[in-house]
């Protein structure tokens, strides 16, 4: 196995023995070996001068890194509820039968392993899988049969039908962002003419708020970073679009990469940052080549590098870092940890990234869509940008629409659009439930379809999943609970244990063994997760359960063995003999259920 050590050593050298590149080194080492054997971790640790335990800890954190050998073809089925509604479970069973392999196992000859993975961001063209990290869309029985044959024949991926790997943009409604042509450099030029302060002032006037979900003011973030002490500022683009049901950043990266990179450069102009990092989720690895090509073109055009557009002292360049299957890294401080080559554990805040971010340097972390939007502000001015949308939610919002509708895809709407309007546009006939904002979002019932997409009403990072009358809201919530349990980083007690417990309760109900007391326990866990969790993953994990319990309670109650929990026998009555024998009848000799926690 000296090969493994050599491959590991080459990856380390490619990254100049830089410990902050540990995750990239692990990904590349695995690319060369297929998994990460123990001696490869030992070698990496030696060369980086890190404790081996730390390297092992990082390797163990990410879903796409494997300590044990996996199949030469590693097939992962996207397991979001939308993929399931499109038949992913049945297709996975079929493939497993054809390849004679059990889910989660490696086939006897080592040619294939089949498993599930969290939403791969292809809800508009699922069911989707990842084959050795590359996205395959629109799976059906014919494709599964063909894939089984290709795997059996050992056909290299490069010789598989190209259309399997084709990812459509599915842009269905274009607003200012998706509708207008963009000349690379034009926004940058416009912002530079205004000067750094003038440009920040435009962003402030635009009222732009973060499109990643939290809705924090972009101008406030940029100003704080601009004013923070320290010369080595950093701009990070959060392209770890992991929220189940979201894929609008995928489309922006595929079709509007120039705008995204120009937005990062605009952030650098505002803050004085010299280094840019784009954190690309592992599931979107197929976009890496395209993104690197766009970066090269921009460098050649003088839009990146030293003296951008000839401006002395305006030096900025962008690197791309790959994720490896960890939803929590979408949380900005976990993302920074991951960028530094560590486990993706959210940090204690304060301090915030604008003062202590990447490697302790002042850092702006923005969502892909937020950065793309800043090009509009540069070109049209802040006031024009703010003319669209609502007073508190200016501009447009991209929605990733999937589920029970005729036209799934990406839609650009001015903020303030009603859910009913969106449902009509996407061809949803019989919508019963809409999950807005992904697994961590809000469950919207029919009587609320008049509500509006806006930070002040129904906020969203972009996911919009439609469920019609055939669907079961309980199963939707259960799918999301499984997702959170899988994705919890495990740092804090309430999220690590609470999401696993919640999963157990939902499964108990699903198996028809639920009692009313379980609903009380579920509600108690919901509260603990909300109140005590370290980060947004834990505090939003119970959202789908809380919402569906309130709005679709019969979906839970029909699964209970009895509505009023009764133990199999009366415990207090069973103590009667003992009371008679001891001559006691005081309160302490009785069981009082009300004292139960």
């Amino acid at each position: 196995m000296q090969d493994a050590e050599r491959i590991a050593a080459r990856a380390v050298e490619r990254h100049r023995r830089e410990p902050s590149q540990l995750l990239q080194i692990l990904i590349e080492t695995q690319d060369g070996i297929g998994h990460l054997p123990v001696e490869s971790l030992t070698r990496i640790a030696e060369l980086l001068d890190l404790p081996r335990s730390r390297v092992e800890g990082v390797a163990g954190f990410y879903s796409f890194l494997y300590a044990e050998p996996v199949g030469r073809y590693r097939i992962l089925f996207s397991d979001n509820i939308i993929d399931r509604m499109l038949g992913s479970r049945e297709l996975m069973e079929r493939l497993c039968r054809r390849l004679d392999v059990a889910p989660g196992q490696v086939s006897a000859g080592g040619e294939a392993s089949v498993d599930t993975t969290s939403c791969t961001g292809m809800g508009d063209q699922g069911p989707a899988i990842l084959v050795n990290g590359l996205a395959v869309t629109r799976l059906d029985e014919a494709r599964v049969e063909r894939i089984a044959s290709l795997v059996a024949a050992g056909t290299p991926l490069a010789e598989w039908p190209a259309e399997y790997f084709h990812v459509d943009d599915n842009i269905r409604r274009r607003g200012v962002l998706l509708g207008e042509d963009f000349v690379p450099g034009a926004a940058l030029q416009a912002a530079m003419v205004r000067g750094r302060h003038g440009w920040l002032e435009e962003v402030r006037m635009s009222g732009l708020r973060g499109r990643g979900g939290a809705g924090f003011s972009t101008a406030v973030k940029w100003m704080a970073c601009s004013e923070a002490a320290g010369a080595d500022k950093v701009v990070v683009c959060n392209a770890d679009e992991g929220e189940p049901g979201t894929f609008k950043d995928r489309v922006l990266l595929a079709s509007q990469a120039e705008r995204v990179f120009e937005g990062m450069t605009l952030a650098a102009w505002a803050t004085g940052a010299r280094q840019g990092l784009l954190y690309l989720r592992g599931e979107y690895r197929y976009l890496l080549k395209h993104l690197r090509a766009v970066l090269a073109v921009r460098r050649a055009a003088g839009l990146l590098g030293a003296r951008i557009l000839g401006e002395g002292g305006f030096d900025f360049d962008i690197d791309i870092h790959l994720g490896a299957g960890a939803y929590v890294c979408g949380e900005e401080t976990a993302l920074l940890e991951s960028l530094e080559g560590k486990r993706g554990t959210p940090r204690i805040r304060p301090p915030f990234p604008v003062t202590h971010g990447y490697l302790g340097r002042p850092t702006v972390v923005n969502n892909v869509e937020t950065l793309a939007k800043t090009t509009l502000i540069a070109l049209q001015g802040g006031a024009a940008f703010a003319a669209t949308g609502t007073a508190q939610s200016t501009g447009t919002k991209l929605l990733s629409i999937s589920g029970d509708c005729a036209y799934p895809g990406v839609y650009e709407y001015p903020f303030g659009v009603t859910i009913a309007h969106v449902l009509e546009d996407c061809g949803a006939h019989d919508p019963q439930v809409v999950q807005v904002g992904g697994a961590s979002g809000v469950t919207i019932a029919g009587h609320e379809f008049h509500r509006r997409i806006a930070f002040e009403d129904v906020p969203t990072a972009g996911a919009f999943m439609v469920f019609d009358g055939r669907r079961d809201p309980f199963e939707m919530a259960r799918n999301f609970v499984h997702f959170f349990a899988h994705e919890s980083c495990g740092f804090c007690t309430p999220c690590r244990v609470g999401t696993a417990l919640l999963k157990g309760y939902m499964d108990k109900l699903a198996s028809g063994k639920g009692a009313k007391m379980d609903l009380a326990d579920i509600e108690w866990l919901d509260r603990l997760l909300k109140n005590a969790s370290h980060c947004g993953l834990g505090s939003s994990a119970p959202n789908p359960v809380i919402d569906t319990l309130v709005k679709f309670r019969p979906a839970y109650e029909r699964r209970l063995v009895s509505l009023d929990f009764k133990p199999a026998f009366d415990l207090d009555a069973a103590l009667e003999t003992a009371r008679r024998m001891t001559g006691r009848d005081d309160p302490a000799a009785h069981l009082d259920w009300r004292e139960e926690v």
Binding site: A59, G60, V328, A485, E487, S488, C489, R496, V497, A500
Partner: protein, 234 residues
């Protein structure tokens, strides 16, 4: 600068940079904790030290005190949540207090008494966590690990050895040691390390000294954990 905040209705002075927990302790108020240790920076993972400030839950070990804050700590609501967090820690591991060498010296057990935890409430996970008895002087019983990372931090930041680390994530997260074999004997861990006597529960145990002090006469058998913490500063 500094200032004053209200802790369960009583004024508590603080100096700049002090967290709520530090200032409260200095003023004689105990806040339950497991992953916090006076010799280390705050970690914020166990969440036992949650308090309510202005209606919001925060980790008192990590949040700097601010003038005029109103902090709720020893209330039925917060203690109920702390009890549930303890129950979570008990069910995720394998904790058999009657046969544990750490009984009476264990902070998890002592806090369970302190907060009147009378049952585990939730279903046990019964994880499979083999012990590591390879080291000549120290036994590792991972069954009791609560992931406070004090051994990780002590070994990394004080001993400069990096003997311990966490791997995997979520409920599968677990402690590993710094050796390709995965055995403590193959690390440079020594019984005199700071990491050797930092464990608040019964994971890291010295060999050949077990039960030297009988159960019933140990630290938290004699006095409650809040008393020990406030009187001895532990």
């Amino acid at each position: 600068m500094g200032g004053k905040f209200l802790f369960d209705g009583q004024p508590v002075p603080f100096e700049d940079g002090q967290t709520i927990l530090q200032a409260a302790r200095a003023a004689g108020h105990y806040i339950p904790h497991l992953c916090w240790h006076p010799d280390f920076p705050p970690h914020g993972s166990c969440k036992l030290c949650i308090v309510k400030v202005g209606g919001r839950h925060v980790s008192s070990c990590a949040l700097p005190a601010r003038d005029g804050m109103e902090v709720e700590s020893d209330t039925p609501e917060i203690n109920g949540e702390r009890r549930a967090l303890l129950q979570m820690l008990f069910v995720e591991g394998n904790h058999f207090c009657p046969s544990c060498e750490k009984s009476g010296n264990c902070q998890l057990q002592a806090l369970a008494y302190e907060l009147d935890m009378s049952s585990a409430r939730f279903a046990h996970f019964y994880p499979d966590r083999p012990v590591d008895a390879s080291h000549p002087d120290v036994l590792l019983d991972f069954n009791r690990c609560i992931f406070c990372e004090l051994c990780v931090r002590a070994s990394r930041d004080v001993d400069h050895k990096g003997v311990f680390a966490l791997t995997d994530r979520g409920i599968r997260k677990h402690l590993v040691v710094n050796a390709e074999s995965g055995r403590l004997a193959d690390t440079d861990f020594a019984v005199g390390d700071r990491a050797a006597d930092i464990c608040p529960v019964g994971v890291i145990l010295r060999k050949r000294v077990g039960f030297a002090v009988p159960i019933g006469e140990r630290k938290y058998d004699e006095a409650s954990i809040s008393t020990v913490a406030m009187e001895k500063g532990e």
